[in-house]
Amino acid sequence: MRIFLLIVFAGLMHATRSFAPQAGADGAGAAGTAVAFGYLLLSALFAGSIFKSFGLPRLTGYLVTGILAGPQVMGLVSQPALENLEIFNGMAIALIALTAGAELGVREMKPLLRSIFWIIVVAILGVMAILSVTIYLCRDLLPFFNGLTLIQAIGVATVLGVTMTAQSPAVVIALRSEMQAEGPVSRTVLGVVVLSDLVVILIFAVVSSLTTTLFGNSADALETAGRLAWEILGSVGAGVLAGLLLAGFFKHVKGGAALFVLAVAFVMAEVGQRVAFDPLIIACAAGALVRNFTSYGHKLLEEIEGSSLAVYVVFFAVTGASIHIDALQMVGIPAAIFVLVRGTGFYGLNWVAGTIARAPMSIRKYAGFGLMPQAGLALALALLFSRTFPDLGVTAAALVLGGVAINEMVAPILYRFALVKSGEAGAANPAPAPELEGAPALATESGG
């Protein structure tokens, strides 16, 4: 029945678009966005449940729906509609980061801090180094290295290595929520991906500034440091404010909290990025404050779970639709090599880090899979890369995009496998869940 419905949705969508082929640009643009929203929501949800019945993550179903419906494959969702739906991206990221922050209870994380520290030092920094070296060694396969001096090539390879190391807190948290996972592996992975996000941003800023000087441009170290300080410290400050606001609301207002959380997430995402703050850091700081300094941590998690499913579904479907399949055609082979090196590096170095930290065997065996998912940060850094190095950025960015495309498809399946094998899947909620339950739902309390 679900497959039949998916075919019907696709057929209706195709018919509708064929009625008004010029509609994307003007009149029916609003309706085009609404119909794309409805179509992606329904199709992704049903595809997710079909994937789940095959033992795959629902999230992969959302991504596959987006890829198939997107402009690069079937073209059921137009590019303008997709761009309009990107408004969900920031909100989804903020909600995901709020969840991450609210999960980062210092008391619960304390026994895992040693493992987290060593995984970041060994696995994250180690993969950066390995990827940089691999890219440099494979430079003959990459046309944009032609004409670069040795030192320039090393610089570019390093920047790309840092970019490709980026992970995806969004995928990790969404999968953790979907699988109802609880335990040392999921907690360690959560801590690592959130903190390594900051590490990657910092190192990217420093390395790209240094590499810029190799191309004859001047780099103002003070300006770079100031920008980073503003982004990180300012984001933390804004997060503290948002956290206080959330705690105050929970304390004084009964009811309607789900809508308030959504509104705060929207503001954090939209306003944050416009004042050069990082919405991920803001929301994470807010969530951590509510979790560790108030008694409303669980309340916050409940409200997010009760209000975010629609946002998540559309976000991942839009992410899937935005994947540059064409980038794979250009740089498919090198991208596949780098994905393999990255994945192997994360797995092996995580084992090494776990051994150094004397982490439980489950962390050594399975946490490496949680480091593999890749999405938004890598895309953002690729964009930044192409702006910083306009002469070679387009092809180089395509390389990163190709890697992200492969990782988005494969890594969630691997991490799901790891959560199941580690025995943490379902541990957060041992009660058997109905078929289509287990994921957060859309808030409807707003109606009062």
Binding site: M1, L5, F9, L12, T16, R17, S18, A20, P21, D26, G27, A28, G29, A31, G32, T33, A34, V35, F37, G38, Y39, L41, F46, S49, E86, I87, N89, G90, D197, I201, G255, G256, L259, F260, A263, F266, V267, E270, V271, Q273, R274, V275, L280, I281, A310, V313, L377, A380, L383, P434, L436, E437, A439, P440, A441, L442, T444, S446, G447, G448
Partner: protein, 457 residues
């Protein structure tokens, strides 16, 4: 850090110009917007985002059960307590000095409006389940027909006369389209307020007044159906060029098909977190398709809701509660948008308001007189007075917003002033009448007490 969202940074020059209305303009564009600059600055964007969040948060607070309880306690319905402040807020937000809801932001918000119109249509359609239809006895149906027909006709005549005098000459088609739109919006009676009795679940035969209110909703929907089918928008984005009757059948067929699909969709999902998402997606899909074909999302979703309401499935109560929960915030958002579209300096809108009020009162009065003479259903004197002065409903505001999305023209912008103004005036009139009757301790007082008790319980 994820890729930045840039929707609000769309170059304004790339947006089609929407000086007074939300619909795309017919080619060639008659008005070039004087937008002044190509991009919003960062402070402007932040101001708009924060302003929108505050406005939407207020809309949700306006739908809070405490506000509704206060309304019942004060014996006034939505338009004055929650509604009027939102109209004013929308108007203030649209002022250039405030700049939270300028025309360009409204243009960006159109997808939300399409979805919201679909939701309202779905809610109204879902109310027409078999029990409601069966409860409408033939005399009540006849009375409802008379009320609808005479109200529609009197508004058509009054406002038509005004349009002949003031509307720029754009042909008979535009004239009839605008007149029918005004009459459709004016025909709808609010389903809350002192003019309707408290409705009890499973309380036996429904009160006949409810039947009449439902039939007026149906009249408004039919009016919109006819307008959207026979008076097609003039922009050339649609490939199919068909006669009006074909569009009429396409609307009916589309609504029915989507109703069946929504039914199958909801039947494949168990009650739980996914249920609301499926409902939201279904309404978005239906409203989007309707909007894509330049049909009315309200009408298509009304038909889908009607079909769904009359098919057997076990989660009916869940669907109803989910739909109703979001109905009021959506209505308040419509009022915000309507407030921002108000052009208070245009006297024609105020004239339409006066004629709408006069037309509804005259039409309903004539209808009751005909009912009395033909010995069909005649309500009690008090009921008759309350029904004659009954305020326009949320659907009227939705019709006005829908017209803004579909058509271009000066009358469309006057329609907002007319409908909002008439809603407020009729609301005040019916409250005034109810309170006057309260002095005598009539049945209105009993109804009000009953409502208060129901809410308290």
């Amino acid at each position: 850090m994820e890729p930045p969202t840039a929707i609000l940074e769309t170059p304004v020059s790339q947006l089609p110009p929407p000086p007074l209305i939300l619909a795309p303009q017919p080619p060639p564009p008659p008005v070039e917007p004087a937008l002044g600059k190509r991009f919003w600055s960062v402070p402007e964007v932040i101001k708009i985002i924060l302003g929108l969040v505050v406005l939407f948060a207020l809309a949700s607070l306006g739908a809070h059960h405490k506000v509704r309880r206060l309304e019942r306690k004060l014996r006034i319905s939505g338009v004055i307590t929650a509604g009027l402040p939102f109209v004013i807020l929308g108007y203030i937000a649209s002022l250039p000095s405030v700049g939270v809801l300028p025309d360009t932001v409204l243009w960006v918000l159109r997808p939300v409006l399409v979805l919201a119109l679909g939701w309202i249509g779905f809610v109204v359609g879902f109310r027409f389940d078999a029990s409601v239809i069966e409860s409408i006895q033939r005399p009540v149906a006849t009375a409802g027909f008379f009320v609808g027909a005479f109200t529609f006709t009197s508004i058509l005549i009054f406002c038509g006369a005004l349009l002949i005098l003031v509307e720029p000459s754009e042909g008979a088609g535009t004239f009839f389209r605008d007149a029918i739109l005004i009459a459709s919006a004016g025909s709808v009676i609010a389903h809350r307020g002192p003019h309707v009795p408290v409705r009890r679940e499973g309380g036996g035969r429904a009160d006949p007044i409810w039947g009449i209110v439902h039939l007026q909703h149906l009249a408004g929907i039919i009016g919109l159906l006819i307008v959207a089918a026979y008076f097609r928008p003039t922009d050339a984005t649609l490939m199919w060029q068909l006669p009006g009757t074909a569009w009429l059948f396409i609307t009916l067929g589309l609504g029915t098909a989507i109703g069946g699909i929504v039914y199958a969709t909801l039947c494949s999902v168990k009650p739980g977190p996914d249920f609301v998402v499926v409902l939201l997606g279904s309404v978005g899909f239906a409203a989007g398709i309707a909007g894509f074909l330049r049909l009315s999302p309200i009408v298509v979703c009304f038909i889908a809701g009607f079909i769904l309401a009359n098919l057997p499935f076990h989660t009916r109560a869940l669907v109803r509660s989910t739909l109703v929960r979001l109905e009021r915030p959506i209505y308040l958002i419509f009022l915000l948008v309507s407030g921002s579209l108000l052009r208070v300096g245009e006297w024609q809108g105020w004239m339409i308001m006066l004629l709408l009020v006069a037309g509804t009162i005259l039409g309903r009065s004539v209808a009751w007189e005909i009912c009395r003479r033909r010995h069909v259903f005649v309500p009690s004197h008090e009921q008759k007075r309350r029904l004659t002065l009954a305020p326009l409903g949320a659907l009227s505001v939705a019709v006005a917003v829908n017209a803004q999305l579909l058509y271009y023209g000066p009358v469309i912008s006057w329609l907002v002033v007319g409908v909002i103004g008439a809603s407020i005036v009729t609301e005040i009139l019916v409250q005034f009448t109810a309170r006057g009757l309260l002095g005598g301790g009539g049945s209105v007082a009993a109804v009000v007490r009953e409502e208060a008790n129901e809410v308290a319980s």
